[in-house]
Amino acid sequence: MRAVDAVIECLKAEGVEVVFGLPGGANLPQYDAFYDAGIRHVLVRHEAGGGHAAAGYAKATGKVGVCFATSGPGATNVVTPIADAMMDSVPTVFITGQVRTDLLGTDGFQEVDVVGVTMPIVKHSFMIQHPLEIPRAIHEAFHLARTGRPGPVIVDIPTDLARAEIPYEPVTDVHLPGYQPTHEGNTKQIRQAAKALAAARRPVLYVGGGTINANASEEVRELARLDNFPVTCTLMGLGAYPAPDPQWLGMLGMHGTRTANYAMDEADLIVAIGARFDDRITGKLSEFAPRAKFVHIDIDPAEISKNIPAHIPIVGDAKNIVAKLVKEYRALEGVDHTRLEAWWERIHGWQEKHPLRYDDTEGDEIKPQRLIEALYEATGGDAIVTTDIGQHQMWAAQYFHFDRPRRWLQSGGLGTMGFGLPAAMGAKVGMPGETVICIAGDGSVQMNMQELATCAQEGIDIKIFISNNGYLGMVRQWQELFWDKRYSHVDMGQFPDFVKLADAMGATGFRFESKATLVEDIKQAIATPGPVMVDVRVTREENVYPMIAPGAAARDMVG
């Protein structure tokens, strides 16, 4: 069979249900094979939308997201989604077309060295040089994408090799001698961590996105409940621990709660689970959690002691390690179960003194924070939520409370504006029975709103709520706070008219401007069949608080 038909067989063997992509010259053979392949294909309007959709699908389902793009501009258009998937460890496979082998290196039409361009931002890449390599490369790509620390993998296939006839035999193994991720944590280290926890008077469990990748939320809950341990999550970890819970401190980091950040600051033991001490978490590194010892659980050994030296490093799969940690802790004798009482007293003091708050408007104007609360009320929290990047994202993290993993889909590490809408599209394709909401900013949403047409054509029923302040709001906030209110090029005015735009795209558009009717209006928008885009006019100049100023220490939070 043709190599491209073998690719389809491989995708089926990998259990692929859907591919997001766009055909072009160099991947025509692949699309010919797709014509009657029996795998769903979602025809995106821009390859970046395809890449983010694949990521949204992967984050919501835990399966590998797949995106196809042609050579040259098609491939460079997926560079951002690839970098995004790398930063957030999203299992994705990108299959790109490439010019014919006899044109390689000649600056041929639509030729780009995509393997070279993406080398720093992929988990691995395969440049196919012989058609016989193709089936194995596809399987190895899936294996690499989903195992260990997940990430994006590219397979770049020159068009002449794609059409070549090959004797296809199913591949049942992978041959990657240089790739042996550690799953089992070191038993001695786990025992040591249990003892450290038992000794700690001011412990905090610091839970990141790796917990969700590892499907370890249940184990983390069990661990927390052993002895009433306080829990905080990163932006990526939200949902790994139920937000409406007495042991929950809120999100930590730059726009986290004061309680979570103060608890980290005063902790004597921090147990990091699938989290990587990003600068948005630590603030000023030298003053981060100065009294704490660190247990660091991560599947990627390179994350251990990268930013913060670990006292008890444990490399491996979080699910399996945390389960063992629970067992080891239970087996300890002589543990004083009342030792955290003073710590909780301190924490409750912060919670009472510093709840998340904002000044609501007197009149009918909608505060952006109110929009998030209203969305939470209208859905009862029962929705998959994606966001873009900026103020609306931080408010959503603060005021929408997630009680389960894989319901909060984020571009956390890369901070990609334009992520939310296509990610929602991918999530809805993967989880058709769920309500999928994209909370967007008026700036961000314009970066990939072409995919609304895809949603309309495919009947992908997502609900987009634009927190519209007519600004690149987070940039404006920084200009206000750190650049003397010199609002340089952040005012986007009221363009475009999102209601008309939704209509033109084949979706339904609404505009909400009243606080009084907001919850009911949202319910109606969600009940409206098909893709819906809602322009919610919110207070123009509102700031996200509290805040650790960039480079400042957690205890110096402002607002």
């Binding site: 080398m119 240089g178 450290a196 000794a199 390179a302 006292h311 008890i312 004798e333 004083d336």
Partner: protein, 186 residues
Amino acid sequence: MGDPGTKQDLLSLEDLEAAGALRTGRKHVLSILVENKPGVLTRIAGLFARRGFNIETLTVGPTDDDQISRVTLTVDGALHPIDQVTKQLHKLINVLKIRDLEPEGTVARELALFKVAAEGAARSEVMQVCDIFRGKVVDVTRRSLIVEVTGTTDKVEAFERMVRPFGLIEMMRTGEIAISRGRSET
């Protein structure tokens, strides 16, 4: 917590020591076995560049297995936490094995070619220095010599210092290759 009467199960947090981010302060020779596939060297070089690790010397060559190549590179352990360097290298799928060679347990050599101005009396002086360093004169003209020297980096650099006053026209060095002492494989 160490209260009298509690079981020895418990430890004191004070006793925990942080590990990692180790700056050793010495030169490290990393001997890396990689799959012989296109782009592997680019992946390694790119990793060093983007993580801000500086490569001092780099050599690449075949091994007795044509599927596998060996990359030998030297890194300054004063500038970079060496464990971070090796852990990042290990994440490259084509990297099979890394050995951070201990200087005492290793035979390391590099090859250098020196083009030295050597006219008249200077010529015999340069040749004497060459003898002392067990170098080899591989080219000679009326006005210059080319000397081949192999040895440790220290020896090559000592030779350089000796011949520089004569007029060092050009110098080329390969960077070190290294092999572990004793029977076991590097």
